[in-house]
Amino acid sequence: MFGLKADWSVDVFERYFTLGNYAGGEARWCPGCGDFAVLNTVHRVLRDAQMPPEKSVVVSGIGCSSRLPHYVGTYGLHGLHGRALPLANGVKARRPDLDVWVGTGDGDCFSIGGGHWLHAMRYNMDMVILIFDNGIYGLTKKQTSPTTPTGERTNTHPEGSLLPAMNPLTVTLGITNVSFVAQVPDWNPPLLYETIKAAHKHRGTSFVRIMQRCPVFSDDFCKPYQDHPENMLLLSHENGIPAADNVKKLFKEQIEHDPSDWVEAMKIARDESKLPVGLLYRDPGAVVYEDFSAKGLNKTNEEKLAAINTALDAFAI
């Protein structure tokens, strides 16, 4: 993005951002934590999209994964446990020009933030939600989360988690006005990159459930898929997540799936014998809430004062 001038001198006419522009504080996750992979991918997607760092805001709740904003050199909002989504929605409400990202854990999003999850999907504001699903509460040291597999021993259920694990895909797909649902493992960098990139490109709320490795507290959560890729099902389609042949090669099980087909998406999501990977559903035409909430941004003070005067006059006696 340099321009060569007539006198052969070089002129910087646009800013060019390198990965360094998106670097934040030094990440402090455990060695082997899947969060690193997501962080690096976010940096790369931002760089490749050449987002001005001051225009992006990374919002999160509380948890290991919710430390994400601290490690990205954009604006950040490290909020409260479970509240990332309303905060992010609020950021976007009157600032549609901002590029909003949300980092949230399985406990943060599906448990304490469960109500907000449903509604944020329905608001469908333009943002990327990265769910770092490690099937456990990491930061608070191994308590059962909604996605903890049945029978998994945790510190709150030492005899094993009692209930069937929640299926976040079917729940999300079931929400009216949902517009983008994808799933991806953190240990496949090219797919992770393409998925997050597609999520970022999509206008609307992109729900990306990332199967995230937590070697410290829930090693068993991702192991079945790491060790047996045949337990995963790659969804491919020309409108889906692009995957190069060498990436495809890793997946023994593959199907063609048109992401505009909601019924098929729901079927795939419901079948828990295989972990679907790729884009389950996309509806580019879903209603986007900031199209309402950001109306009237350009009113001048004169217009506002005139309108308030009219409002006051309606009460005149």
Binding site: Y75, G76, K304, N309
Partner: protein, 636 residues
């Protein structure tokens, strides 16, 4: 029905040969089943009276259920209008005249002490001939009972008269009654007709005309059948000053717009919701947006996100909603995000008295968050202040980078009063979002040593990138768990309150500034009733004064000095406190009213309190009696 204004000083001639007696003030109630339009009738009557230069206070009588059974005491729905030849600041004592659409609804009002011996009851008499024998019996028994209470009952065929004009008297009786009371209080009938035309303007002539007919016949009906005729002369000296009449929630809504806030993020809760109902109707015109969130936590989070992104947003709620917002208010304090939070207080705890007044969120507003969470808490004392304090709140929130809680209550929310029309100022509007580059040598929390104040970078400002966090953080908003960082950042956040307090002036004493026997201290909506009773006692030569606080956190300066000039200081509040003479109560375990508790701690003066949670606004009469006792005790 022509009114001949006679400028003689004692009486006015209206209609026939009756003479209107001049009175200084009057309290009227209209009570009905819900859905019969009594409130519309009373509001219109209030508007007419305001236009005629009277002081007005109206307050709605609201049943707790949306559609309580017809003819049930608990279903009493209606309105009280107090008008006078003076500025009226509260609902007053007992009503002197009531129009009742059925006899049953009067029972709950009687139980509430709304009437006295001699109160005139204009009662719909159709129930006397109701096909249902039970109703007929109820009616006759009630009329007898009312007489035994000393009420003067006039049984009137109101419905019958209405049916001559409309086929469904349930829709329209209210305008007939408006005509009746307009006659009784010598209101200009043309003002009434104009108000009706305005009210139904959007429905067209087909609706306006029958309503005007109803009004006119109500007017004639009263002239013909009743011997009552009063005149309440105007008090406004300056009738050229433009005046508006609103309730407190509408005032809050207008204030939000005049403050330049562009986002209200809320979840419905009585008695706060009507503020948003009002704004939702007109917000588009100023480019604003109402976000109805999925719950109060989300409402607060959404507002906080928007404030962080540039423009201070507002959330409006009541007690239970405040409880849900608590954790996020703590985040706003910790991360220094400007925020306006309006709490229209209702009776608590829990779901409590949803439609009724209480002032019991003071301590939870100031101290409600876990950890030390200094924030600004102010309280509006009048409906007019509901407007101006929203503007003040936004300014303080931004200047001090802090959440500001504005306390109003159900009394202000539903009370309607005329006041000087605010003259809008452009500087009230919030400034456009600064998107110029940030000087990156300046940290995100560049705390000033002396005041704790700092400027905040706004997303979009180049080189200002920082991460807002609720964790303990350094001036560069880096997470830091070390002792020094925590101690100094806490000190900076607290110092902002001291800095604000230094800019405040000591409150004015209403009464004897030099001191005296008894000083009453109040806050919030009780000011009108307190001052009215204090003025009456002062007129009788009693040494009593009052002082009303607007700033609760930080507290206004000079209190200790003022208090020490009085023999006794006591607060008057609408929240629970133990009766000092109650069973088991001793000086050691007595729980004081909320402001009293704070003032005792802050001044080390033995401040007493008087507080009740009857669910209705304080009345001057009951305060007068209480103050008299206190004064007697002091002087004996």
């Amino acid at each position: 029905m022509t009114q001949q204004a006679d400028n003689g000083d004692s009486a006015v001639q209206i209609g026939g040969n009756k003479t209107a007696a001049k009175v200084d003030e009057y309290i009227v109630e209209i009570v009905s089943d819900s859905g019969e339009g009594a409130q519309k009738c009373g509001q219109t009557f209030g508007n007419i009276s305001g236009k005629m230069g009277n002081g007005v206070w109206t307050v709605e009588i609201i049943p707790a259920e949306i559609q309580p059974p017809a003819r049930s005491p608990a279903g009493a729905s209606g309105i009280r209008i107090r008008i006078g030849s003076k500025y009226i600041t509260n609902m007053g004592n007992e009503a002197e005249l009531v129009v009742a659409f059925n006899e049953q609804v009067l029972f709950s009002r009687i139980a509430n002490g709304a009437y006295k011996e001699g109160t005139i009851v204009l009662l719909e008499n159709k129930w006397e001939t109701d096909p249902d024998e039970k109703i007929r019996n109820q009616y006759t028994a009630a009329v007898k009972e009312f007489a035994e209470h000393g009420l003067i009952v006039h049984e009137l065929p109101i419905e019958e008269a209405c049916l001559k004009i409309v086929s469904n008297a349930r829709k329209g009786k209210n305008m007939f009654v408006l005509g009746m009371i307009s006659y009784i209080f010598s209101r200009e009938p043309d003002l009434g007709r104009k108000e009706i035309a305005n009210t139904f303007a959007h429905k067209g002539d087909k609706v306006i005309q029958p309503n005007i007919d109803l009004f006119d016949s109500g007017y004639a009906f009263a002239a013909e059948r009743l011997d009552y005729l009063w005149e309440i002369p105007p008090y406004t000296t300056d009738t050229t000053k433009p005046t508006i009449i609103t309730n407190g929630n509408q005032a809050v809504g207008l204030g939000v717009m005049a403050a330049g806030m562009e986002l209200i993020s809320m979840y419905p809760i009585t008695p706060a919701t009507s503020a948003t109902h009002y704004v939702a109707d007109v917000f588009d015109n100023v480019g604003g947006f109402v976000h109805q969130a999925e719950d109060e936590i989300a409402a607060m989070g959404f507002a906080l996100g928007a404030s962080f992104a540039g423009k201070t947003a507002c959330t409006i709620t009541s007690g239970p909603g405040m409880a849900l917002k608590t954790e996020l208010i703590g985040l706003a304090v910790m991360a220094e995000v400007p925020q306006v939070i309006v709490d229209v207080q209702r009776g608590g705890p829990s779901t409590g008295l949803p439609t009724k007044v209480e002032q019991a969120d003071l301590l939870s507003s100031i101290y409600g968050e876990p950890g030390d969470a200094p924030k600004v808490v102010i309280a509006a004392a009048t409906i007019e202040e509901c407007f101006h304090f929203v503007i003040l709140a936004r300014k303080l929130a931004e200047a001090f980078r802090i959440p500001v809680i504005l306390l109003t209550d159900a009394n202000l929310a539903t009370g309607v009063q005329p006041y000087t029309r605010p003259e809008l100022q452009e500087e009230w509007l919030s400034a456009p979002i600064d998107q110029s580059p940030w000087d990156d040598s300046v940290p995100a929390f560049d705390w000033d040593e002396g005041t704790g104040l700092s400027q905040r970078p706004i997303p979009g400002q180049r080189n200002g990138e920082y991460v807002l966090t609720g964790l303990s953080h350094t001036d560069r908003s880096k997470v830091a768990y070390d002792s020094d960082t925590n101690q100094t950042s806490m000190a900076h956040r607290s110092r902002k309150l001291a800095a604000l307090q230094k800019t405040l002036k000591p409150p004015k004493v209403h009464g004897d500034e030099a001191g005296g026997d008894l000083l009453i201290v109040g806050w919030g909506s009780t000011m009108g009733a307190i001052e009215e009773s204090v003025d009456i006692l002062r007129g009788q030569g009693k040494s009593i004064s009052t002082l009303h606080l607007r700033f609760l956190s930080p507290l206004e300066p000079g209190l200790k000095e003022i208090f020490s000039k009085f023999k006794k200081v006591m607060t008057v509040e609408i929240n629970y406190s133990d009766d000092p003479n109650g069973p088991l109560i001793t000086e050691e375990n007595r729980r004081y009213a909320q402001l009293a508790m704070m003032l005792r701690a802050q001044t080390l003066i033995d401040i007493d309190c008087w507080s009740v949670v009857y669910g209705h606004p304080l009345q001057p009469g009951m305060l007068q009696a209480e103050f008299n006792q206190r004064l007697d005790a002091l002087n004996n």
